[in-house]
Subunit: 116 residues, 6 copies
């Protein structure tokens, strides 16, 4: 077993996300829409909030969420130095337990930058 690449993550996410979207539960559907809307431009620009989402995902140590937000951050135009500086906040706040997720995030970031 080796690291799940961004391509593999996208395929797996899509399959699971479809199950959620197919669920006949109003509360779940509303939460999914609220989650999506949360990163749109409002008092803060959406791109700043993607950075917030990335750091929150790192301190909570969720690779799926990291992969999602790091892709959005790259699309929003944050560069590698800026993302490393944001990740450093997650590392200092969350400690060495965050290191494996930061390794994962850097590998994902390199994949995403190579795709461009």
């Amino acid at each position: 077993m080796s690291r799940r690449t961004i391509k593999e993550y996208r395929a797996e996410r899509e399959e699971g996300q479809q199950r959620l979207l197919d669920l006949d539960h109003l509360g779940v559907q509303r939460f999914l829409r609220l989650d999506h809307a949360c990163y749109e431009d409002k008092a803060l620009p959406g791109r700043t909030k993607e950075l917030l989402g990335l750091v929150a995902s790192m301190v909570l140590r969720c690779n799926d969420c990291i992969d999602y937000h790091i892709e959005q951050c790259v699309k929003a135009g944050w560069n590698k130095d800026e993302l490393a500086d944001a990740m450093n906040v997650a590392l200092i706040v969350g400690g060495s337990i965050v290191i494996p997720h930061m390794r994962h995030a850097m590998l994902s970031l390199d994949e995403l930058l190579a795709e461009q």
Copy 2:
């Protein structure tokens, strides 16, 4: 690397569980028995407590624990609508960081329902 199926989970769990059961440590053995006894009928029926175990596993974000409890929930007769309603509590309490685990849970649930 793709998602671990319920069948793969069962095989992996069995191998690891055997190592725990082979451990010559009274405290560990007693905890394992206490853990098992906790879901038996008592003031609350065992099937209600399996639902509690599932939601606790989801907000603590542990896929192995989710797979264990969702199988017990299916055996206890909870249907898909009821399980989705319980999972919605986990989603609201635990937030979007729970979403990848809810995707996993829905895929596991579909596997389990297909086995029946």
Copy 3:
């Protein structure tokens, strides 16, 4: 400084909750409504979901959330033995780190039962 009683909790919660309700942010308001709706009767009865909310709050170790849900559980008619049996699931899943919160929950429960 001594333990915050249920009465003190109610006063403090009300003051803070008002600030949230006064916030001019659509996402926050929608989440608050979704949170409220999540415990209404649906595929599962609301009273079962209050029990799920209590156990989720205990394993996530939040006394404010415990006080909120334990009051709802008492209103929904769960008795002390049933609540202790639910809390035992939280204790086994979450471990000894949950004990201080279970002490808090039992003191809150006694206050709530004395009010009745």
Copy 4:
């Protein structure tokens, strides 16, 4: 027992922080300096990183850390609407378990704005 105000927080923090600064342990002293340096202007401006620190503190549910970062955010010029929009990210990512901390944060924010 009522909510700890920002003024009380500052006094308590100062007493405890002095104990840490007095500790004769090189690793601890280096970590404290690294923590401080992490929010200085670098690839990202310090004020953006204070927002990251606030959201990380909220999803990890630490009122002391929230009070520290919200004061830095106010000093850095973020207004109430922007801070509410950042907190909404924490609320969506972290779920309803974050609500008591968001109540606390809004009360702290009002105190800080009143001081200005």
Copy 5:
């Protein structure tokens, strides 16, 4: 509201602990005994395991558990330098979110050393 002293912690803990011991629930009683037995001499000396309990309590950020284990550590003869070195592991593993709990632990430690 100011910091809860060790004396106040002891009184509050005793009241809550009595409620747990009074609970008519076999699973809870067995867990409490298992928790106690876990820190007795076995393959590792109890005093080493108190240090493990302290660090676990710090990274999980529970002041009640910190106060309990730091008192046991002082009784077991660990000195201030050794405890600071153990706490540094918690700080590095758990990050700056642990700092408020390390402040609390140092204040508790000074109280405990003054009692001797």
Copy 6:
């Protein structure tokens, strides 16, 4: 997908760690050095602190961190009974949610002991 072996972990860790070491960010580099230095002999011997690192990793439920520290513990001469006794502290403090990580740890330990 089956369990990642210690050999696979080492290869994956090395690739990711190199990305971190290549990062042009002073804060990240300093944290990595601080993390390394934290387990050296000081007021406590390094081997005791490796045990603290293992238990912290288990209650925070990070398999990568568990694999790292369990290898260091084996190198430092802790035997299987002592490691099981330390893991029991993690199990009691952290609860049944730690069990999947304890299974993982025991499988890793058997691999490491077989290598010797």
